[in-house]
Amino acid sequence: MSKIILAGAIRGAHLVVNRVEKKINEAIEKFGAGKTVELPNTGYYLPVIYGILGEKISKLEDMPKIIAKCRELLPPEPSSDLWLPYLGAGLDAGMATLWAYDMEEALKYLEDPLPYLVAEDSTDDQLWLGAADDVILRKRGVEFVDGSAPGFAAIVGAAPTNEIAVKLAKELQEKNLYVFLASDNHGKTMSEQLREEGVQLGWNTRLVPFGYDTSAAIHAMGFATRAALAFGGVEPGDYKRILRYNKNRIFAFVLALGEVTDEQYAAAAGVINYGFPTIADSDIPQILPTGVCTYEHVVSNVKYDEMVEKAIEVRGLKIQITKVPVPVSYGPAFEGERIKKEQMHVEFAGPKAVGFELVTMKESDEVKDGLCEVIGPDLADMETGSRQPLAVMVEVSGRKMQSDFEPILERQIHHLLNGAEGVLHIGQRDIVWIRVSKKAKESGLTLEHFGAIIHAKFHSEFNNILDKVQVKIYTEEAKVNELLELARNKYAERDARLKGLTDEAVDLYYSCTLCQSFAPNHVCVISPERSGLCGAYNWLDGKAAFEINPTGPNQPLEKGSTIDPVKGQWDGINKFICGASNNAIEKFNAYSMMEDPMTSCGCFEAIAVLLPMANGIMVVDRDFTGMTPCGMQFSTLAGSVGGGQQTPGFVGISKLYIVSKKFISADGGLPRLAWMPKHLKEFFKDFIIKRAQEDGLGDFYNMIATEENCTTEEEVMEFMTKMNHPALTMDPML
C-alpha cells in the first residue's frame, strides 16, 4: 500500500534535507555566504525553486531560507497505527526533496574539478552532463512544442543487465522520447551500462546522462519547470500553473530500475507533484488510484519488455509511430548520432565527392508508387572506408501536390534519413553529405532502404498532398554528374520563384498555433517575407501544412484591407489576432518592433532588442551565451520576451528574418542593426553584403559590431561613430 511508499518518501526527504543543509553550511564556511552559486547559462536561477517558490537563488546566503521552507513542509513519518493522512504530507515531503536537490546540484558547480561536462554530449572521459543550459532548453523545447518529442522518461537506477539497458533505451528512442538518466542501483547506473555498450550519450541522441547521484534527477525537473516558464509564459512562483502545465503538457514519467531507496521514493513523490508517475521493475507497492497524476501514480513489478508500453499507457500518452521497414532502429532520437571515421563503412557526396537530392512533382502515370530502385553499386558492393557519389531522385504525384511543395518535401529527406540508426545526413540539395556505419551495413541496411524510408515517411506525413512516391538512387559517378545539371537548373528555378514571393504579392498569410500546445497565448503570423520566429516554418510550409491538415495549427489568414502598408497592419490579420489572443491583443504591426510588435512564444531563434542610445538595435541568437550590449544575456532576455506578450523594443524572430527586406522595415530596417554575435554575422555574411549593396549601404557588413568589438552599449556607440554607422543619422527610434 502507498503508506510504505509515502513513509519511505518522508524518511528520504528528511535524509536529503538534512544532508543538503549540512552541505550548504560547509559551503558557506568554505566559500563565504556571498559566494555566487548558479547553474550554467540560465536565466532561471535554480529552476525548480524559482518556478515553484519564485525565489531567486544566486548566492550561498540565499539557500538557508529555502532549507527553512523545506522544513516547514517536512511532515513526521506516519505512525505504525492510528496514522494521520499521509498522501498530501508525502507529496509535500517530495517537494521539499526537489528544492533540496536543486541546491545540492547547484553546489556541485562550485566543486573543482567540475563533476559535469558543460556540453551537449558526453565524451569518453566525461559521462555526466549535469544541468541543461538555456540554449539546450530552447533548442530541445521546440521539439516538445511541435510534438517531435512527445515527452521524456526519467530513469533512475540501473537495469539488471547491459542488454536490457540498451533495449530499454532504444525502445524509448524509437518512441521519440527523451531519456534523462540519473541515480544508481547498488553503485551501477544505466548511463554507465549504455556507455559500456558503446551507445552514444547526450542531447543529440536524446539519451542524457545527468549524473550519478539521485539528486541529478532534479535536472529533469529543472528542464520541465523551465519549459513552463519559457514556453508556457508562467510567472515564477505561480506554482499552480507550473504544475498544471507539466501535468497537461509535458508528458513525462519515471522508470525506477532496481531496488527503490527511501531517497528515490522521496524524489518520486516530488515528481508526482508534476503529474509524472513512476513505473518500477521491482516489487514495490503500487498507488493505483488516480487524480494527482492523470492516471496511476506508481505501478510496479513491470516486466522489461512491457515497461515502455506500460509507462506510456500510465502517463496517458499517445505516440503514433510510422513503422519504417529498415533493419536498424529508427526515430528522431537517432538524428543526432555521430559516425566517426573509424565507425564508418562508406560516405557519400560531401566536400570531396559529388552528390545531391532532388524532389520533383510528376504526373500520376509517371510515378510507380513504392518503387525504390538503386542504379549502380549498393552498400554491400562498396569498399569500406570509401567515398562514393550519390543522387537521390524522389518523384511524387498527387492531386493536391504543387511545385511549391517540392522544396518542403526535399528538406524532409535530411531528418528522414538521419533518423535511421547508423546513417548520418548533413546538408541538402547539392551540398549533401551522408555516412553509413559499419554496424548499419552489417545489420543489412542497403540504399534501397533509403528509398523505403522516404516512401514510408512521405506517405505518413504528407498523405493529404501525395498519392504516389518513387525513389531512384544513383551511385555511378557519370550518371550522378549528368543528373546534377538537371538538379541545379531546378534549384535555380526555385530560387528565382521564391525571390518574387513578397508580402504584397499574396492575399493570404498563415497563422501558426503549433506552439499553443506549449505557449497557449501565442500566435505567429507567417508571411512570405517573415517566417515563424522559431525558424522552422516559412510561408510555403504554412501553405503546405494547411493542405496536409486543413484543421491543423496553420490556417490561411485573409489579409483584408491594408491599414498601414509601412508598419504592416491589415484589418483581417488584426481581427484574427484579437480572437486568437482572447482579445488580449487588438492589433499588430508586422514590420515594427517599436509599436504593437508580434508576440513571442519561447521558441524564437533570436531576439531583436532596441539600443536606445545607439538609435539602433542588436540581435542575439540563442546559441550566444555571452553578455550583450543591452546588459542581458539571451537567457535573461528570453524570459522577458516570451509568453505571448507584446513588448515594444523587444521581439522574438527567426534568424532568417534578419536578411528579409521586411526586417523591421517600419523602424528603418537593416541599417538599424548595430550589433550581433560574430558567429551569426559570419553565417549571414553573403546575405548582409548583398542586402547592403541593394540598399546602397556601402560597407555596412563591417559596421556591425560583434562581441569582439564591444559588449556594452557605450562601446557600441563608440564603434558606430568610428565606423560611421548609418543608424546614427537616422530618425530617432523612440
Binding site: D81, P85, L91, R249, K318
Partner: protein
C-alpha cells in the same frame, strides 16, 4: 436495561449504575414516555386557542381544524415551524460568533484573536471584502460586520449564495427561495404559519426552503467560518472517546453544548500553571478537560481534547461521580442535569443567558472578559474536587479516533500544499473505487436503537465502498464504535479500502459539529466544480442521513440539504406521515422542485439499501456506472487541456 438501548459498553455500565442507585435518566424517561401518536405524525395543531385541534382517526384526511385548515396544511405548518426553530438555533450561534469576532478584531475581547488569517482572507473573498495590504483586524472587523449584516439584511440575497454551484444558485433564484436575510426568513416563516396566514402548502414549503437555506448557506456556514477564523481551521488530529476519558485523580471538567467560545478559553486556561497549581493544592493531579455533544466536537477537532460522549451520555458522565463541573453553553442540554447532579457532587454550570436551567449554577460567560470568566468557572470546579464521593469511571478502554476532516483538509490530504484538489476524490468516484458518499449526521434518540442506527448503517455502507462523512453526535457515536480510526479501512470494501490506504484516512471521516454540516455542502460544491460529476449538487452520488434525529435543528438541516439537491433519509419518525398530501410533498414533490427530497426509514440496513439505490441511479445518470475508457493524449488532444 431496556433491550432497545444498544449503546457502548462504558455507557452500559453507567446505565446499570443509575438503575442501581435509583437515578432517573433519559433512557428511563424514554421508556416511560409514550410519544403522542397524533403529534408524532403531524396531525395536531395548537397554533391558536380555537383548538388545539387533533385531526386523528381513519377519516383524518377529511377533517379540518376549527379555522378550516386541512390536515395537509396543519402538518405542513408544524414542519415549517420546526425549520424556523432550527434555523434560529444555528443562526443565533453564528450571530454570537460574529459578535465575538468583532470584539476580538477590535481588541475588546482579550484572549481571542484572528488566528487563521488564511481562512479570514478566504471568507473575506466570498464577502467581497478587500484583503490586499490590509491588516488582519481591519479585515476581521469588516468580515464580522458583513456577517452580522447577513442577519439583518432585508432584501437581495445572502452573499454566501455565491459559494454554491452556479446552476444551484440559478435554481434558487428561479424558484424565489434565495434567502434574503437570516432573521427575516425565520420571522416570515413564523408569521406565515400563524393562524389564518399561508394556507397553500405549495407556497408554504417554499418559504420553508428559504428559511432552511438561511441556515445551511447562512447561520451554520457563518458559525463554521468564524470559528475557523477565531480558533483555527481544523486539521487531522488524534483524539479519544467514551466515558473512560474522565480521569480519577484529576479535576474533571466537562464542556457541553455547541458554541466553542467558552470551551476554547477553558481549554487554554486549564493548562495555566496557576490553575494546575491550584488543582494540586486541592489534592488533584491537574485539570482534565473533556467534552460532550458538539462543544466536544469543536474542541476535539481543534485541540484533540477527548470526547466523553454524545447527547445521550451527558447524564452518564455525571453518574461517574468524577465530574467536578459540567459547563454548558447552548442547545441539547437536558433539563434533568441538575437533578442527576444532585445525587453526586457535580456542579452543572450554565453560562449563557439564553440557556439557564433551574437548579443549575449560573455563571455568565462574557467574551469581553473571557479569561477571567473561564478562570472563575474552573476554580469553582477545582473547589468542588474535595467534595467528591465514590468515583466510578467505566474501566473500558477508551476508543481512539482521527478527526478534523474539513473541506480544507480534504483538499490538502489529496495532493498536499502544491497539488491539493478534489480531483483524486472525483476520480475515485468516477472509477467506482468509491461508489458514493453518504453524510451520516444528527442526533441520537433514545427511542430507537441508539448507537446502532448510526454504526450499523456506516458499517454496511463502507462495506459497499461508500465513503462516510459524519458530524455532530453521529460522529461521536461512530467514533465510539471504532470507525474513525484509519485501521477501520479493513471493514471497507476493496475500492474504498484502496483509497483509504492511498490517502491514509479512515473510511468514516469526522467533519465536525452539527453547524459543520455546512462544510459538507461546500465539499459537495467542490466535487461539482472539480468536474466529471455533473454540474449541480443534485447530480452527485451523495446522500444525507439522520437516522437518530430528535432536534428541530435536524428538520432545518434536512431541508437545506434537500434544497441543495440531495436525497435526505430520516429515521425515528417523520412528523408529517399523518397527512397523505404532505407526505407526498416531502417524499416526492420536493424532488421535482429542488432535486432533493426526504425518505423515511427506521432500519439502518434498509437505509443503506436506499442509499445504494440512489447512488447507483445517480451513477447511471452520470454515465459512470461502467468502466471508464482510458483517454490517451496526442499533441492535438493536449492542446485541449488547460495549461
Amino acid at each position: 436495561m431496556d433491550e432497545n438501548i444498544n449503546i457502548d459498553e462504558a455507557s452500559c455500565e453507567m446505565i446499570k449504575k443509575a438503575a442501581e442507585e435509583g437515578v432517573e435518566i433519559v433512557f428511563d424517561r424514554a421508556a416511560k414516555m409514550k410519544p403522542c401518536p397524533i403529534g408524532a405524525v403531524g396531525q395536531c395543531c395548537k397554533n391558536c386557542m380555537m383548538g388545539p385541534c387533533r385531526l386523528a382517526g381513519k377519516d383524518a384526511e377529511e377533517k379540518h381544524g376549527v379555522c378550516g385548515a386541512s390536515l395537509g396544511v396543519i402538518a405542513a405548518r408544524n414542519l415549517m415551524r420546526m425549520i424556523a426553530a432550527g434555523t434560529s438555533c444555528h443562526g443565533d450561534h453564528g450571530r454570537d460568533m460574529a459578535f465575538t469576532l468583532l470584539a476580538a478584531a477590535k481588541g475588546e475581547a482579550p484572549g481571542y484573536e484572528v488566528k487563521d488569517v488564511k481562512k479570514l482572507h478566504k471568507v473575506a473573498g466570498w464577502l467581497d471584502i478587500k484583503t490586499e495590504g490590509r491588516e488582519k483586524n481591519e479585515i476581521g472587523i469588516d468580515v464580522a460586520n458583513a456577517c452580522i449584516n447577513m442577519f439583518s439584511q432585508q432584501t437581495g440575497e445572502l452573499a454566501y449564495i455565491k459559494k454554491a454551484p452556479k446552476k444551484r444558485q440559478e435554481l434558487w433564484r428561479k424558484l424565489g427561495i434565495a434567502q434574503r436575510g437570516i432573521d427575516r426568513e425565520v420571522v416570515e416563516l413564523m408569521n406565515r404559519t400563524n393562524i389564518g396566514m399561508d394556507q397553500d402548502i405549495d407556497n408554504l414549503v417554499m418559504q420553508g426552503f428559504r428559511c432552511a437555506l438561511a441556515n445551511g448557506w447562512g447561520g451554520s456556514m457563518i458559525s463554521s467560518d468564524i470559528q475557523d477564523i477565531l480558533f483555527g481551521t481544523p486539521t487531522p488530529i488524534r483524539g479519544k472517546v467514551n466515558l473512560g476519558v474522565l480521569k480519577e485523580d484529576y479535576v474533571n471538567i466537562v464542556v457541553h453544548g455547541h458554541e466553542p467560545t467558552l470551551s476554547e478559553m477553558i481549554a487554554v486556561v486549564s493548562m495555566d500553571p496557576e490553575i494546575i497549581k491550584y488543582a494540586e493544592s486541592k489534592g488533584a493531579k491537574g485539570v482534565n478537560l473533556s467534552g460532550i455533544c458538539c462543544t466536544a466536537n469543536e474542541v476535539l477537532m481543534r485541540h484533540g481534547i477527548p470526547s466523553a460522549g454524545n447527547f445521550l451520555q451527558q447524564e452518564l458522565a455525571v453518574l461517574t461521580g468524577a465530574v467536578e463541573a459540567m459547563i454548558v453553553d447552548v442547545q441539547c442540554i437536558m433539563s434533568s442535569l441538575p437533578k442527576v447532579a444532585e445525587c453526586y457532587h457535580s456542579k452543572i454550570i450554565t453560562t449563557n443567558r439564553k440557556a439557564k436551567i433551574t437548579g443549575a449554577t449560573y455563571m455568565e460567560f462574557d467574551e469581553h472578559n473571557a479569561v477571567e470568566s473561564a478562570k472563575e468557572i474552573i476554580k469553582m470546579a477545582i473547589d468542588n474536587y474535595p467534595n467528591r464521593g465514590k468515583v466510578n469511571i467505566p474501566h473500558i478502554k477508551t476508543q481512539d479516533m482521527v478527526v478534523g476532516f474539513t473541506d480544507e483538509t480534504i483538499t490538502y490530504m489529496l495532493g498536499g500544499t502544491y497539488r491539493g484538489s478534489y480531483r483524486p476524490l472525483n476520480d475515485a468516484i468516477i472509477s467506482g473505487r468509491i461508489r458514493g458518499v453518504v453524510g451520516i449526521v444528527g442526533c441520537n434518540n433514545p427511542k430507537v436503537a441508539t448507537d446502532d442506527v448510526h454504526v450499523a448503517l456506516a458499517k454496511e455502507l463502507i462495506k459497499n465502498d461508500v465513503l462516510i462523512v459524519v458530524t455532530g453526535c453521529s460522529g461521536i457515536t461512530n467514533a465510539k464504535a471504532g470507525l474513525l480510526v484509519p485501521e477501520a479501512k479493513d471493514l471497507a470494501g476493496p475500492g474504498l479500502r484502496e483509497i483509504c490506504e492511498t490517502v491514509g484516512i479512515p473510511p468514516v471521516l469526522h467533519a465536525g459539529s452539527c453547524v459543520d454540516n455546512s462544510r459538507i455542502l461546500i465539499a459537495c460544491t467542490h466535487m461539482v466544480e472539480e468536474g466529471g460529476l455533473g454540474d449541480d449538487i443534485s447530480d452527485l452520488p451523495v446522500v444525507g442521513v439522520a437516522p437518530g434525529w430528535m432536534s428541530e435543528k435536524a428538520i432545518s438541516i434536512g431541508h437545506y440539504t434537500i434544497a441543495s439537491g440531495l436525497l435526505t433519509i430520516f429515521g425515528v419518525a417523520f412528523p408529517v406521515t399523518g397527512s397523505k398530501e404532505m407526505s407526498d410533498m416531502v417524499f416526492n414533490k420536493y424532488a421535482d422542485l429542488v432535486g432533493g427530497k426526504f425518505a423515511f426509514e427506521e432500519d439502518p440496513i434498509k437505509i443503506a439499501e436506499l442509499c445504494l439505490k440512489h447512488i447507483d441511479e445517480k451513477r447511471k445518470l452520470l454515465g459512470i456506472d461502467k468502466a471508464q475508457e482510458r483517454v490517451l493524449y496526442d499533441m492535438e488532444k493536449r492542446r485541449e487541456l488547460e495549461a
